[in-house]
């Protein structure tokens, strides 16, 4: 069976959940082969990749790979595409994952699909476009299919793989070293999961009313182990940082559960969350368009409903 290369996303030596999802998906399409780029590979990482079915792990652990923007990862994958002739390459459809996919597509003269929410037989990808208005099937017509898959598209399911390790040395070109990362600045986000990866997202909008009042959104999020998001109205008002903006010009999320509090649901916002599996809405305006996509909606004041919900969750734990 041909290999399916999966670019591993990792932080502090730990494999991110989206990679486990991609390995689960890759098992249905061929033989999963994980590609580890950068330092930090350990037995813990290997164990995790094996647990979710990686038959092979290509390890390219030189620091050079992550000390330059995107291009080295694309060069690493391109060298593996050339030497291993995989059936496909899967990456996470994050901002950086899509950039890696784009450069790899140019290097290997291959077609690329982004924001897939599923990949089926014949490597046909499912996409949801125009803010969730149209469902599309697409496929790569030339070269090695490169598919960027949205986090939370598949539930990660364990199935042991051999995780046979193979060291890969890549001789980076000068152009791959052209944009040097001189410093990484970590901004405090506490214990909350990352917005694009989180299984549950709780977002606040104009109805929250102030930056201070976002505390009630955060408390609800923490009671569910969720990430916090914000609508553009809230970030425009300076109530919450732009990095947490969900929507057309911000992050796209596709969690199992999305709770929207005080968000009217303009296309700007819906485009970033419409593929969420379950949507709960709290809004005082019964005419708010967000109710059209709600699985469960409460017409009411979020200042009453949100704290009550938080307390109720704590009570039932």
């Amino acid at each position: 069976m041909a290999e399916i290369l999966v670019l591993v996303e990792h932080v502090d030596g730990d494999v991110k959940k989206v990679t486990l999802e991609l390995l689960t998906l890759a098992r249905l399409l061929g033989e999963p082969a994980a590609v580890w780029a950068g330092p930090g590979y350990s037995d813990i990482a290997k164990g995790k990749l094996a647990e979710f079915g990686a038959e092979k792990v290509y390890v390219a652990d030189s620091a050079d790979i992550v000390d330059h923007v995107v291009a080295p990862k694309a060069e690493l994958l391109a060298s593996l595409v050339a030497s291993r002739a995989p059936a496909a390459v899967l990456v996470a459809s994050t901002a950086e994952g899509k950039e890696v996919a784009g450069r790899l597509a140019v290097k290997t003269d291959s077609g690329v699909i982004t924001d897939a929410v599923g990949v089926g037989e014949g490597l046909v990808a499912d996409q949801s476009i125009f803010g969730g208005g149209v469902n599309v099937h697409s496929r790569v017509a030339k070269g090695t299919p490169i598919i960027a898959v949205r986090p939370n598209s598949t539930a990660p399911v364990p199935a042991t793989g051999a995780a046979a390790e193979e060291k890969v040395d890549v001789e980076l070109s000068d152009s791959a070293r052209a944009a040097k990362i001189v410093e990484r600045v970590k901004q405090e986000k506490g214990a909350r999961p990352e917005l694009t990866e989180a299984a549950i997202v709780v977002s606040g909008g104009r109805g929250v009313g102030s930056g201070e009042n976002f505390a009630i959104i955060e408390k609800l999020a923490d009671s569910l182990g969720a990430a916090v998001g914000a609508s553009r109205a809230a970030t425009d008002a300076g109530w919450y940082p732009h990095a947490f903006q969900v929507g057309q010009t911000g992050k796209t999320v596709s969690p199992q559960l999305y709770i929207a509090a005080g968000i009217s649901g303009a296309i700007q916002h819906r485009a970033g969350m419409q593929t969420s599996k379950t949507i709960v809405v709290i809004n005082k305006d019964p005419e708010a368009p967000i109710f059209e996509i709600a699985d469960f909606g409460i017409v009411g004041d979020l200042n009453q409903v949100v704290p009550q919900l938080t307390a109720e969750i704590a009570k039932r734990k």
Binding site: V11, V69, T94, A95, E96, K98, E99, G102, R103, A105, V106, D109, G111, V112, T114, V124, I129, F130, V134, N135, V136, H137, R139, V140, A141, A178, K180, I181, V182, E183, R184, V185, K186, Q187, K189, I200, T235, H242, A243, Q248, T249, G250, L257, I267, A271, I282, F291, E292, I293, A294, D295, G297, I298, G300, V305, Q308, L309, A311, E312, I313
Partner: protein, 259 residues
């Protein structure tokens, strides 16, 4: 400094957007065309860099005839001139073809700095800047929320999941910007009038030495096999808060095993 800012005309997201039934490409006639929102931030950043360091701002767009509206908008904001890459052969080009056609044009017109918005609201692939950097062999300084030029170097803050990376490179370079890097200016009346007289050069594929076999819907690297309007989400339950809305929401979450 020769700054080229790439802009794209996209269907207004406030109107219904469609794919064409014949070749499954974006139906550009079905909706009003507007400048892609993130492109306005790119234009603003180009103008600010020009104001700080001197030089010229050229607008580059690839799109049908009606994309001239988007060019005029960028010129009205203050860009100096424009190049419009327009050719029937380009219709339906995918990201690979588009990046190829744009790179060929950029090689023709020359640049010290290329600036783009980080993604478009229609295709939303977010790949074009990275692909251009790859094709042009130029440093990729993408997803920037801050751009500085000085001492022969360009420095940006690249937005990441954990915060940001400080990235450094030399010019020429390709930059993409995120929302809120700046506050795009509104064109003044004077700017709108002046834009009408600014030079707009039209390029066909031959002018930019673009190989017709590498562009257009028939030569795309990926294809839409079929599509359908998404069925509306099944109507959910909506209740009025009678003082127990939070409890009811908890009941719902429990019924779905979230708690």
């Amino acid at each position: 400094m020769n700054i080229v800012v790439c802009v794209k005309q996209v269907p207004d997201t406030a109107t219904e957007r469609k794919l064409r039934s014949d070749d499954k490409t974006l139906d550009r006639d079905a909706a009003d065309g507007v400048i892609n929102e993130l492109c306005e931030y790119a234009v603003e950043e180009a103008l600010r860099l020009k104001e700080a360091h001197g030089g010229e701002v050229t607008v580059l767009t690839m799109g049908p005839d009606k994309a001239t509206d988007t060019i005029r908008k960028a010129l009205a904001m203050g860009a100096d001139k424009a190049v419009h890459l327009v050719d029937p052969a380009l219709h339906g080009s995918d990201a690979l073809s588009t990046s190829y056609a744009m790179a060929q044009t950029l090689k023709k017109i020359g640049f010290d700095l290329v600036i783009l918005g980080s993604e478009s609201t229609d295709a939303r692939t977010g790949m074009l800047a990275a692909m251009l950097a790859e094709r042009l062999g130029a440093p990729q300084l993408t997803l920037a929320n801050k751009v500085e030029i000085g001492d022969g170097a360009i420095r940006v803050q690249r937005v990441t999941d954990y915060g940001f990376d400080k990235v450094e490179a030399s010019l020429p370079a390709v930059v993409s910007v995120v929302e809120k890097i700046n506050e795009p200016r509104y064109p003044s009346f004077k700017g709108i009038m002046a834009a009408k007289k600014k030079p707009v050069q039209t390029f066909g594929i031959a002018d930019a030495e673009i190989d017709a076999a590498q562009v257009g819907v028939a030569n795309a690297w990926s294809e839409v096999t079929d599509f359908a309007v998404a069925p509306p989400r099944a109507a959910g339950t909506v209740v009025k808060d009678e003082g127990d809305g939070g409890v009811k929401a908890a009941d719902f979450l429990a019924s779905k095993k979230f708690i």
